[in-house]
Symmetry: C2
Subunit: 629 residues, 2 copies
């Protein structure tokens, strides 16, 4: 097979690829991830690149304008390579790079204050370090080194079943003697037994760190935690690089069935997680070897891909995953770069479409132990709804798309510095005021910003209840863009920050999917929304979500505002609680076992509910009586 060299700018990275490969796949092999929410089908038009030199065969696409074509633009997924190439990747086509300044750095985020429930769990991290000063052997005390170690541990901890790997035994004799019988053991909670994960010379017990992860379809969040004092040292988020291969779990599962698709998706998520790990530990001057465990919460497909387990059967009737309860494994087995013997815990999931992220959310929300009838709504690419209390829990999932995570929308971004998170429009002069996270000049709009913006556009009549622009209003801000009509939210140096009609349509579908899922689930239990006593809203919105405005657009039901609490990324919070407590781990497993899954797609009323919700706030205005637009 003829080989060609493709050089990517401005990265200056080179890939050697077969003739006929796509530019998209060549970019991936050079370690460059492009936007491609359709998974490379030529539909989304987000993987535009400029061919500077060389020859490609580019399938025609309506996503490339006449003018762009002249400049050399092609869709990377539709352009196959015919010669050596030089390709430039515009910032907006780049996944996870489009609106952040530093390439290698993932983003630090502010998070909602830990839920009150956090401290109820006994502090018993999944990996603990224990400093031992062992008595030296002598004529009267000649038990073997390993037995001596066990005896030393059991003097301090009551352990029923202790396990050790050969790797720890091999160097033990020398290690004990060189360290003068003073060693630190790391003990891991491993499927109901205790494993000696590590034996280190001298006292390293003060250095014991873990990482909690929320692995979202669109966004990865990681949090570095000092396991000794429960302190959160830092939080990072980055795009899940898998987004190059499709925006939602279904397109990922389809991609996984391609040749080596599973491996590619696996590496894509692992790369992102490893980048978060390196970023967090280098900032805090922590050694990789002192990170002894990590906990991952994610939807079922994400966990399968993380572990390189074939997700095929998740989307085949009767929709059964390979594992909901994943045993503890060595993090290195999955490719995670922490201590090579460190452990990986995956939070137990409920079904093919409700995963451990929801279990973690329910755990951190505390709803599993309250008397009150509670509704839990996790707003993400997959929207998950849980209804119940301490006695029962039922859940459902709806595919909302990544709009609320700032993906698949023209100027979307995550809830990080520079994101517009609050918007108000003066009804008199239609002047617009934005707040950005970090009070820095705006670089895009995050989920809570979109909710605010839509609510304000509705209230001021700039858009109608169908989501179309009323050009009679605010006509200085409404203009024709490449993708149709758009509204200028803020001016930026290179390109303005806008919301397009297509964006509004995307958000409408997302909010309709979530609202209708909640509505059907509540009714399935023979209840009305009015019976709900408290509502937890979770999602990656940073520290802010305006409940009033969420109701205004019809995302959340029209109930007494006092019933609502915004709890932030509850999956990450639950993951951290588990990291810090074996009790929390046990409780999470109880929750996952206890929760019933309700399949929306087979419910006759779901599609009707969804269609009725494709309106702001809803076609049935009686259901949003308090909303005045």
């Amino acid at each position: 097979m003829e080989k060609f060299k493709v050089t990517f700018y401005p990265d200056n990275k080179v890939a050697e690829v077969d003739k006929g490969s796509t530019i998209l796949s060549s970019a991936i092999s050079a370690g460059i991830y492009l936007n491609s929410s359709c998974g490379g089908d030529g539909v989304c038009g987000r993987c535009k690149v400029i061919v500077k030199k060389g020859s490609v065969y580019a399938q025609p696409s309506g996503r490339i304008s006449q003018e762009e074509r002249k400049k050399g633009y092609v869709l990377a997924c539709l352009a196959t390579i015919e010669s050596d190439l030089e390709v430039e990747i515009p910032a907006e086509s780049r996944l996870g790079l489009d609106r952040i300044s530093v390439y290698t750095k993932t983003e630090e985020i502010e998070t909602v204050k830990p839920a009150e429930s956090e401290d109820i769990f006994i502090h018993s991290p999944l990996a603990t370090k224990l400093f031992l000063e062992l008595p030296q052997p002598d004529q009267a005390d000649r038990i073997s080194d390993l037995e001596r170690l066990y005896r030393g541990i059991c003097k301090i901890k009551d352990i029923q079943i202790m396990q050790t790997g050969l790797a720890n035994i091999r160097g033990l004799g020398e290690l004990l003697r060189l360290s003068d019988w003073k060693v630190t053991v790391t003990l891991g909670n491993r499927n109901g037994t205790t494993e000696i994960v590590l034996v280190e010379p001298q006292d390293t017990s003060l250095k014991n760190y873990g990482i909690a992860f929320d692995i979202g379809t669109t966004t990865l969040s990681g949090q570095l935690v000092d396991l000794n004092n429960k302190k959160v040292l830092g939080t990072r988020i980055t795009y899940n690089r898998q987004a190059t291969f499709g925006a939602d779990v279904i397109s990922r599962i389809i991609y996984a069935q391609k040749e080596d698709g599973l491996g590619v998706l696996h590496h894509a998520v692992i790369d992102g997680m490893n980048m978060i790990i390196v970023d967090l530990i280098s900032e805090h001057g922590i050694n990789l070897s002192d990170v002894t465990c990590c906990v991952c919460a994610g939807n079922t497909t994400m966990i399968h891909l993380l572990l390189k387990v074939d997700p095929t059967f998740i989307r085949r009737d009767p929709y059964v995953p390979t594992a909901n309860f994943v045993p503890v494994v060595r993090a290195a087995e999955a490719g995670l770069r922490i201590n090579p013997r460190g452990l990986l815990f995956c939070v137990s999931g409920i079904s093919s479409y409700v995963g451990g992220d929801v279990t973690a959310g329910v755990l951190s929300s505390g709803m599993y132990k309250t008397e009150k009838l509670t509704l839990f709504i996790d707003i993400g690419t997959n929207g998950e709804i849980v209804l119940g209390n301490k006695d029962w829990l039922i859940c459902a999932a709806a595919s909302a798309g990544p709009a609320f995570e700032g993906s698949g929308v023209a100027c979307g971004m995550r809830a990080v510095n520079g994101a517009i998170q609050r918007v108000s429009i003066n009804p008199k002069d239609l002047s617009l005021k934005c707040d950005t996270i970090g009070n820095v000049p705006p670089s895009g709009i995050c989920g809570s910003g979109y909710i605010d913006l839509l609510a304000e556009l509705l209230k001021t009549g700039i858009i109608d209840k169908n989501g179309k622009f009323n050009t009679n209003k605010a006509n200085t801000r409404i203009r024709d863009g490449e993708q149709g009509k758009e509204f200028v939210v803020a001016n930026k140096k290179d390109s303005d920050i806008v919301i397009t009609e297509a964006d509004i349509e995307n958000i409408k579908r997302a909010k309709a999917a979530i609202f209708s899922a909640a509505s059907v689930l509540v009714r399935h239990m023979g209840l009305e929304f009015s019976a709900i006593e408290q509502i937890f809203i979770a999602g990656g919105f940073g520290t802010y979500l305006d409940i009033e405005k969420s109701i205004t657009i019809g995302l959340l039901p029209d109930l007494d505002r006092k019933k609502f609490s915004f709890i932030g990324n509850s999956s990450l919070a639950g993951s951290r609680e588990i990291l810090l407590s074996s009790d929390a781990l046990q409780k999470s497993q109880d929750i996952a076992k206890k929760m019933t899954y309700f399949e929306l797609s087979t419910d006759a009323t779901y599609m009707d509910e969804y269609v009725a919700a494709l309106f702001f706030p809803h076609t049935d205005s009686n259901r949003f009586a308090s909303v005045k637009i």
Copy 2:
């Protein structure tokens, strides 16, 4: 560094080695193991080779005669390479080849009938196969594949803690569906938990095999067992290739401290074990993947080397091994070629010099559960003595050397076909009659043969009580050999089978070490030999050991012959019992914990006892009153 090519004949194998390497190390790197009981120190003189072409620097050695020197003989360990070489290796210098006909084939041995105690353990192999016909998932039963598997197993077996590896989960979804939900799981007993070792399509439950090993300093024995019906399918023995690096555990430990010495010794033992495995399974048409576990009993140094654990501290005061209780590991981690996920169990040991082979021996002898005061003597390169009964057990070890295993003696061989195992000499005409194992022409003398031979030589006065030849007797058979006087036992085509005065000296030291160890241990407990109610004699003597003649030479104490039982290779028997029963495994651990170790080397009387025993049968003839020589 200058490189030279060394070609070994008749193997026609080539090694590329650095200038200055010894011929011995070059041979090892070509995969050829030479005799070298001194571990390459130029002392034993057993690694003679003939330099046919090329130049070496050979340190002078009294082990090479004038005549040999003329023919090009050198000691491989003392000859360093100065040019490309051609080297011939005489059969007698070759380890494990010297007296067997087929190079690649290990030797099949007859074994003593399993001890009566064997059947007391419940049949519960360390790895069991379970065929499951799982219900297919449907709308009403949507638990994940892994949970379905667990549920299926738990319907049949009550399992507290179940573990699985990622490797089994990765392919599970497809495997279950392709096999129509009919699978066989292999469940392994792993340190107090149950591990799903394997999941295979369809019903393979009838194919489940294990291998029991006795890893001796000189001899490796392996036994293939059908785990379903407890049937022993075959037994093989071969030399432990580590013998190239020293005859006893001390010289091995010293060798292990050389650069890569540990790795070399590790591979040497693993190579031999893998050869036994391949030989056994190919004879019986069994797939490697159906061998799911193996159990190894060996002295503490052997187990360290098997696992590639540094044995250094075994011989440093206060003589503490790294592990006596080794956790279950994957056999592949140690380099053993059975199913790649198969398990390796090492029988728990007692101390640095009394290992799991003794635990296994005590288990299979049943002495741990008898009321009777019992003495257990394991005659091997390391001689081990255990005294006690169901209430208490005490043990000691003495370095006997490999003479009883047919090593370190001129015409020694293992107890396999062609070995002279019985000898009688007619006192009238001094004519000699030999029985060989398999009734084939003799090719050497095994341990029981040497015992018989010595007893007969003594009784007929051909040797005196000091072990020197009386040239007035049998003078047609006594002649001057290269190593001094020798007695011709049988005539062979190429070279006669003889016993030399040096051999007799070796055997005298070996029997003295064992007898005096037993004597000191009995007295240490405030007892006399006469108090012993039964005596078990273990060792690799095949099916035959003449107790009367063993007493005649002073190897065993002079007690009522009815008290003695010869139990063969009790380490291998115990290893097999453990392979077949988790109860036996538990019992072996109890035995190892319970047994007290007595250090002979620090006992003031041991050396006196030893010196007193360097006589046939003993300097104090009152202790062997019934022996008439």
